[in-house]
């Protein structure tokens, strides 16, 4: 181009014709990059907004669905990106000090970090795909009509493919997820436990071989009652039962597992179970826990007798634990509605509960997929959609950042940078840091939900 030929260059080679001094040029470059970073923040800000909205509206969904993500892989990737940000920063410093070789080394290491991140991302995505968790319509939780969709799962160690209906797979996952969640301090809703697990015997049988999900009971004779009790024990509901037994009708709170006390007799099996070292439910949430009272009409020693106040005892709802063998979506939907009522109105987290009902608005309990109203079931996939959009867009930025680093590396190899001229390294460094920073937000928001 002839653009430059008419001007006398009164500066070094890299000084563009429209700048007076190199400082002016470098400052402009940095300002430009900062402005660009603002646009990046605003763009991801939109995604974070969508995230915040859906999470605020459906905390249970997010708590539930995030359990599918592998926080270990995410954590390793966080570490990798942090390290690569560090090497990038060292590279910028090396460029400023004119340490050419060290600069090249740092750029290569940063690039390697980017590759490492993408490789792990690849395995993470493919393992999600293997669990039928896809972006878009192929997602396991994608709203469907009826129970027609059949997925296959591959049993580890065998070549056999096990057909499983989507619904069955969902139920199975729900149970396992319930357990995972309890480790995070969530409490399974007692009513759910009281009949969900009984009724879903069929699902459990399918699950026997489904060791992807690591059911500890595998290979043993499975006692479903035992299983439930175990869940209770872990979450401390048993203690609540004990209290209720003691104080008849008094309100009791779910307070964490009994420590030091003798476990109540219902809990005995749980203690025996070698498969479960008791994880400590999180402290601090217990006072928010759901409040249960015993229904005098029902034998409180049996789990089925434990119902939330909004249910049978207050007579405010016609929901009863179904007679054996009969449960369906209609029941469960109605049930979930009742739960929502107990929380203070359907879907409205702010209204006070009806008179005489306990205030469960801040109850941190967890209702498995099966027993959510359809409106909630249909939204679970949204978590994964947001997950894929956010991490996918971020991965794209990693790739772009790696492209920029490669460009700078190319220049560094020709010895282009010096203590006087190193602003490209600086600018690319800034970009790489923002890519890192975005991940620092994405990781806890997606992988570490409590």
């Amino acid at each position: 181009m002839s653009d430059h030929d008419t001007h006398d260059h009164h500066g070094p080679e890299y000084l563009a014709h429209h700048f007076d001094t190199p400082e002016q040029q470098f400052e402009s470059g940095k300002l430009g990059m900062w402005l660009f970073l603002v646009t990046e923040v605003m763009m991801f800000g939109g995604l974070f907004c969508a995230y915040a909205l859906y999470r605020a509206n459906h905390p249970d969904i997010f708590a539930y669905a995030h359990g599918f993500l592998d926080w270990k892989m995410g954590g390793i990737n966080t570490a990798i990106l942090l390290a690569s940000s560090f090497t990038m920063a060292l590279g910028v410093r090396a460029a400023q000090l004119g340490q050419q070789k060290f600069l090249i080394l740092m750029l290569v290491l940063t690039l390697a970090g980017g590759f490492g991140f993408l490789i792990i991302k690849y395995f993470e995505y493919t393992s999600k795909f293997a669990e039928n968790i896809w972006p878009g319509t192929q997602n396991l939780y994608y709203p469907t009509e009826g129970d027609q969709n059949t997925n296959t799962i591959v049993i580890k160690g065998q070549d056999e493919q096990l057909p499983i209906t989507r619904q069955a797979q969902l139920n199975a996952i729900a149970v396992v997820e319930a357990k995972k969640l309890m480790h995070h301090g969530y409490t399974p809703h007692p009513v759910q436990a009281s009949y969900d697990l009984y009724e879903k015997r069929g699902v459990f049988e399918a699950l026997h071989d489904y060791d992807d999900y690591n059911l500890k009971e595998k290979g043993k004779e499975t006692h479903y009652e035992h299983h439930i009790l175990h869940m209770f024990a872990e979450a401390g509901v048993a203690k609540a039962i004990a209290k209720m037994d003691g104080h008849g009708g008094d309100q009791a709170t779910d307070d964490g597992p009994p420590k030091g006390e003798d476990p109540p007799k219902d809990n005995a099996h749980a203690k025996d179970d070698p498969g479960h070292a008791e994880p400590k439910p999180k402290e601090g949430h217990s006072s928010d826990g759901p409040v249960y009272v015993a229904d005098p009409a029902i034998d409180t020693t049996s789990i089925a007798g434990l119902v939330p106040v909004s249910g049978i005892s207050a007579g405010a709802s016609n929901i009863k634990p179904p007679a054996s063998g009969k449960t369906g979506l209609v029941d469960s939907e109605a049930h979930a509605v009742a739960l929502a009522d107990a929380r203070g109105g359907h879907g409205d987290h702010h209204a006070a509960p009806p008179l005489g009902m306990p205030d469960l608005r801040h109850a941190k309990y967890y209702i498995p997929y099966e027993f959510q109203p359809k409106s909630v079931q249909d939204r679970i996939h949204l978590f994964f959609q947001i997950y894929f959009m956010a991490t996918g867009l971020h991965a794209l930025h990693v790739i772009i950042g790696m492209g920029c680093i490669t460009w700078v590396l190319g220049k560094a190899l020709t010895g282009a940078f010096s203590p006087e001229y190193n602003v490209p390294v600086d600018i690319v460094g800034l970009y790489w840091h923002i890519v890192d920073l975005i991940w620092i937000f994405l990781f806890p928001l997606l992988y570490l939900i409590h």
Binding site: D3, F36, M42, A50, P135, G136, H381
Partner: protein, 599 residues
């Protein structure tokens, strides 16, 4: 050829200079590549001018198509089997108003003033040789071209479907984009259900958005870094303040549009459901996202216009601008307020009453900085020696139309009235008064104002004034009546209407034809100016730095490094009848190299 064509012009001191090949940016180098790959901000500005005006023409064709359909669309014209009111008729109308809106908004009015006038004038007003990032500037132009090409494909596809579609459509037709009928707002869930090419359109707008972002980024960096000696923030011409405030919005708001459009495209491609109520998503979230960008975007459209008008009003009143700091700060205030009022587009979308009330209040507060500007312009004109040249006519027209547009925004911002007027022709009239009446008029005024600088020729003043009169009348006839139609209940976006609205539509369509004639007169005037009188360096007597160099400026803008002075101090410029322009006494030019050590 007349005397005017002697290759002689005058410099800022009124001395004759002979024009030689290569001494200005237009003839600096030859060949198509010297334009296509240029890094010169002025050339990039001119390239933008060509393509943006072409878009305006395209968008205009759709506008005329719409108005013409509405000439015939009254209910009693609809009979069994008639074309009027048929599915085809309605579909045509839906596509036409969508493409009209999308082209006018994304391809014309957003880039018009910043990308054309801003590109040419901004570095000149800063006394700089170029924008901070010339390469990025060119890239931004090609982003625009890419986005334009995507929307262009959409358009060609729509025409192909129109001509070949139907019973025995060829098979390949199903692979061809099918136009767009969602409205420029892309509201979900319709934009998920329609079988038109939403993905194409969103990607087009996405890429155009990139262009807008890069331009804004470039302008901010340029204004920060390339101010000349003697120019602090408050010695900057107000056009620069306006472009700065615009750029802030471009940087902060456009990325939100980008993610919105990406999500919408993913919605259409993958069915992610974030905005789809059937899949548990929230369509109102889409509206929030969209208006979080698009309300600030209306200030991307109007702020540069306000800047242009501030320049013209002061220069043609031969008076220092009144309330400089108020105008400067009100630009920033509008930019920032613009971010917290988006909910006024969603009063009927089921927001909570509390939020509605809040947005209503905030919206009205935008009227304050707008009014500050209007009062300052009026105060500037007060007791000025007003020159009624074409740019000034447009600027004064602007004040009228912007006032009407702004004031009619207030009943829309008031909840009780908006519930009634939302989605009626009242809204259509309101935003055309601010977008066409204000921004387009300011753009035309700015084009006339800087025309001599850009091309080194004078347009024909008489034709210019006539064209102004025709556009002004045409515009008001077209759109004023729509306020009335709207209050009578005529809804927007319908291809047909009850007979009682016939008179409004007929008047409006008539006005649109007058407006079209006026715009063609403007275009003809510009094209004819190819043979116009050679422009002096400073035909209007402005003291902004762009008038401190030749017309057209040399490739490097200035022969010597200019020094910033008060841009609104005109006393040193004396009118010279001989050249029909203003000349500067060399002793009063702080940038005059004779008073400086050679460099």
């Amino acid at each position: 050829m007349s005397v005017a064509d002697r290759p002689i012009t005058t410099d800022i001191y009124g001395e004759e200079i002979e024009l030689k090949p290569g001494d200005n940016y237009i003839n600096h180098s030859k060949g198509i590549l010297s334009w296509a790959l240029t890094l010169d901000h002025k050339r990039i500005g001119l390239m933008y001018m060509v393509v943006v005006l072409a878009s305006f023409f395209l968008g205009g064709i759709f506008a005329i198509a719409l108005r013409t359909q509405l000439l015939f669309g009254k209910a009693s014209n609809i009979e069994d089997g008639s074309v009027i009111g048929s599915a085809m008729w309605n579909n045509l109308y839906n596509q036409a108003f969508t493409l009209h809106g999308a082209i006018m908004v994304f391809m014309f009015i957003i880039p018009a003033i910043p990308a054309i006038l801003g590109n040419v004038v901004l570095p000149l007003q800063l006394g700089a040789k170029d924008v901070a990032f010339p390469r990025l500037n060119l890239m931004s132009f090609y982003c625009w071209m890419g986005g334009g090409a995507l929307l262009g494909c959409l358009l060609i596809g729509a025409i192909m479907h129109l001509m070949m579609g139907g019973e025995n459509a060829p098979a390949f037709l199903s692979y061809i984009p099918n136009g767009l009928d969602t409205g420029w707002t892309f509201y979900t869930p319709y934009s998920i259900q329609t079988n038109t090419s939403v993905i194409f359109a969103t990607m087009g707008a996405f890429v155009l958005g990139f262009s807008s972002i890069l331009t804004g980024l470039n302008f901010i960096a340029t204004i920060h870094m390339l101010k000349p000696k003697g120019m602090g923030w408050f010695q900057m011409p107000l056009f620069l303040w306006a472009l700065y405030a615009t750029a802030v919005i471009q940087i902060l708001a456009t990325p939100v549009l980008a993610i919105t459009l990406l999500l919408l495209a993913a919605e259409n491609m993958l069915g992610i459901g974030i905005f789809d109520p059937k899949l548990g998503g929230d369509p109102v979230l889409f509206q929030h996202f969209f208006w979080f960008y698009s309300h600030p975007a209306v200030y991307i459209m109007i702020l540069p216009a306000l800047g242009v008008v501030s320049e013209i009003i002061s220069v043609f009143s031969r008076k220092h601008i009144f309330g400089y700091k108020f105008i400067a700060y009100s630009s920033l205030a509008i930019a920032l307020f613009g971010f917290i009022v988006w909910g006024h587009h969603m009063f009927t979308s089921g927001q909570s009453p509390m939020i509605n009330a809040l947005f209503s209040l905030l919206t009205m507060s935008v009227a304050i900085p707008s009014a500050i500007k209007v009062f300052n312009w009026l105060a500037t004109m007060w007791k000025g020696r007003i020159r009624l040249d074409t740019p000034m006519l447009y600027a004064m027209g602007f004040i009228w139309l912007f006032t009407i547009g702004g004031l009619t925004g207030l009943p829309l911002a008031a909840l009780s009235t908006d519930i009634y007027m939302h989605d009626t022709y009242f809204v259509v009239a309101h935003f055309h008064y601010v977008m066409v009446g204000s921004t387009l008029f300011a753009f035309l005024g700015g084009m006339y104002y800087w025309f001599p600088k850009m091309f080194g020729r004078m347009y024909n003043e008489k034709t210019g004034k006539w064209a102004w009169a025709v556009t002004f009348i045409g515009f008001n006839v077209t759109f004023f009546i729509q306020f009335i139609a709207g209050t009578q209940g005529m809804p927007r976006r319908y291809a047909t209407y009850l007979d009682q609205y016939t008179i409004y539509h007929h008047i409006s369509t008539g006005g649109s034809y007058i407006l079209t004639i006026g715009l063609f007169m403007v275009l003809a005037n510009w094209i004819m100016a190819k043979r116009g009188k050679r422009a002096p360096a400073n035909p209007w007597g402005g003291n902004q730095l762009e008038w401190h160099t030749n017309s057209p400026p040399p490739h490097e803008n200035f022969k010597y490094d200019p020094v910033g002075t008060d841009p609104y101090h005109y006393h040193d410029w004396k009118y010279d009848e001989k050249i029909d322009g203003y000349v500067l006494d060399p002793d009063h030019d702080p940038g005059n190299p004779k008073h400086k050590p050679a460099h």
